[in-house]
């Protein structure tokens, strides 16, 4: 594979008069952990949905894993993994059945899939819950399962939309440990978060505001650039002048 994992320019999406994403241009290198930050309603989810082929852009272009997002969404779907902000798995299926179902949709053979499910259950500490209905899992374990489903086919890029929202700090630590492992093995991770301590873990972060990309760089460089105490202060300073809501969650 050549080129960047994600490459977009001028990506725009309008809903009626409202411009959710406004001329977004950025590129993400392979194996990078890319943090996609912004307040609620900044356009992060809309951008991710366009990259995953769930939504067509109004204008602009881009490629994911070398495939055009306008014309080759079928190819993109095979190589990416997606974890939605909202729990999007079948609650009336067990954890194993959810993993099994998606594994088959990604064309994994029975024996490969079985081994992969065991491996993931181990990695995500899901083993004791594997035969419980997904709807009956505690929050943190639901997120683990959702991550498991999004990486069942060992995608080259994963898009994680608020993967740690509503889970405890201990699990957040484990979660990021897993992401690091995956990145080391070459997986590109495109992640949105509300937690600034998590943003510190990212190789680079971008900050979106009112649909536009207003800042992009390593966490360290950005903090230095604005002379802020830490990432959180920088973020708030950056967002506030434009009059956006600072409400978290």
């Amino acid at each position: 594979m050549n080129g960047n994992a994600v490459e977009i320019s001028g990506l725009t999406r309008k809903f009626g008069d409202f411009t959710a994403v406004d001329h977004l241009t950025l590129s993400v290198a392979r194996g990078e952990i890319f943090g996609f930050l912004g307040a609620n309603g900044a356009g992060k989810t809309t951008a991710i949905r366009m990259l995953c082929g769930l939504l067509l852009p109004t204008s602009g272009q881009g490629s994911v894993d070398g495939h055009d997002i306008l014309k080759e969404s079928e190819k993109i779907k095979k190589t990416i993994g997606y974890m939605s902000q909202k729990f999007a798995l079948y609650r009336d299926l067990t954890a194993r059945e959810n993993l099994d179902f998606y594994g088959h949709l990604y064309n994994l053979g029975n024996s490969t899939l079985k081994a992969r499910i065991n491996e993931l259950a181990e990695q995500l500490s899901l083993t004791p819950f594997i035969d419980r209905l997904a709807g009956a899992l505690p929050m943190g374990w639901r997120q683990r399962l959702a991550l498991g489903v999004s990486i069942i086919h060992r995608p080259s890029i994963v898009f994680l939309d608020e993967p740690t929202a509503g889970v405890d700090p201990v699990f957040r630590r484990t979660f990021w440990g897993l992401l690091y492992e995956m990145a080391e093995q070459g997986t590109t991770i495109f992640v949105t978060t509300h937690y600034m301590d998590e943003a510190e873990y990212c190789g680079r972060i971008s900050i979106m505001h009112n649909g536009q990309l207003i800042e992009l760089g390593t966490p360290h460089d950005l903090v230095a650039k604005y002379g802020a105490k830490n990432l959180e202060d920088m973020f708030i300073d950056l967002i506030r002048p434009a009059g956006a809501s600072n409400e978290e969650n």
Binding site: E74, K77, D92
Partner: protein
């Protein structure tokens, strides 16, 4: 394809683990069969019929006895004596009056043309239709018993015999309609929630990021329901057969084959509805509305299609129950074979393809 199989399997889990689906599948059809069946069946049996017998012969009394021995007619509670049918009807509160003029016996014996009078209370439309049908049916039976073999000339006619064909012989006429309508409603209801449920719960979002096409998803979802709705069909047919002792003269396997096509068509309507509305609630209401009213009013279940205005006749052609009704009536009551019913099966297949293609198109458009 393999992916279709896994979607079908997943869908089956949803069905088997959802109490609401199970109720729609197993309880509703049986309940509706009893309800519809009895409501309609009771209405049209035991019709009070007054008789003016001016012939007063063995034959005329035999005819009257034939009428009263059937389950359909009984004498008025308060017998009164009038020579005018209109007066008699009002005085006795009968739904119909049969007038046998002098000369009936002679006409029967000599195969002469003869007219019997049948005056019907037209204010009860469906009952009036039933009276006509029963009376002509009973009269035909009576005459056939008396005709020398090989004779076909009907000597005696009912003066009021205008509408309706020989299909309308008995209450059995309604059962195929009930079967058609219940199957259509239940099937459409079942699939109407499948896509809507995935929208409701947010699972559709995850599903659409996986490499599956809209066609694969929709067909995968359809498959388990075809099996289930087919079993429902057996259930409803079996119940109707036992409860209302409908005859079954034709081929069981032919009926099963067409039933399979019919439920697939009905399920496609549900799938189409499912792609159009955002919530399960709305989907169910929409599916019921779309299937129940047209099937009851326009399929020929109550009103004959050929008596409808041209526009409504056109509409009745896109109502699947119109075709299946003919098939069930044909097979159960007349023993019609494949050659006669092939066009109906063909139309159902075409309707199914149209509904499915529309659903796939709508579904694809939504993703964009």
């Amino acid at each position: 394809m393999k992916k279709i199989r896994f979607i079908a399997q997943k869908e089956l889990y949803h069905i088997l683990r959802d109490m609401r689906s199970l109720i729609i599948i197993f309880v509703m059809p049986v309940m509706m069969t009893c309800l519809y069946g009895y409501a309609i069946n009771m209405d049209i049996e035991h019709i009070s019929l007054a008789v003016i017998d001016q012939d007063q012969t063995v034959q005329s009394r035999a005819l009257i006895e034939r009428f009263y021995r059937s389950n359909y007619f009984f004498p008025p509670k308060y017998p009164v004596n009038y020579h005018d049918p209109d007066q008699l009807m009002r005085a006795s509160n009968a739904a119909a009056v049969l007038t046998i003029q002098p000369g009936f016996e002679r006409a029967v014996q000599t195969q002469q043309a003869f007219e019997l009078g049948l005056t019907i209370d037209g204010s009860e439309v469906s009952q009036a239709a039933a009276v006509q049908a029963y009376a002509s049916g009973l009269l035909n039976e009576y005459l056939q018993d008396r005709l020398p073999p090989g004779t076909t000339l009907p000597g005696v006619r009912l003066a009021q015999q205008v509408l309706y064909n020989e299909d309308l012989e008995s209450a059995h006429f309604f059962v195929p309609g009930i079967v058609s309508i219940i199957l259509l409603m239940v099937s459409a209801l079942l699939t109407s929630i499948t896509i809507a449920r995935e929208k409701d719960t947010g699972t559709l979002e995850q599903l659409l990021t996986a490499p599956v096409s809209p066609g694969q998803i929709l067909i995968g979802k359809l498959l388990p329901y075809i099996g289930i709705a087919f079993i429902d069909g057996l259930l409803v047919l079996g119940f109707a057969k036992i409860l209302f002792s409908v005859p079954f003269v034709g081929s069981f396997w032919l009926l099963m084959a067409v039933e399979l096509i019919y439920v697939a068509t009905a399920l496609s309507i549900g799938i189409l509805v499912s792609t159009m509305v955002p919530t399960q609630q709305l989907a169910m209401q929409f599916a019921l509305l779309l299937t129940m009213l047209p099937s009851v009013m326009l399929s020929g279940f109550i009103f004959a299609v050929k008596n409808m205005p041209v526009f409504l006749q056109g509409v009745s052609r896109i109502v699947p129950a119109t075709y299946f009704l003919k098939v069930v009536r044909g097979i159960m009551l007349k023993g019609s074979g494949f050659a006669v019913l092939a066009p109906q099966a063909g139309f159902l297949l075409i309707l199914m393809m149209i509904f499915l293609l529309m659903a796939v198109r709508r579904f694809r458009a939504r993703i964009g």
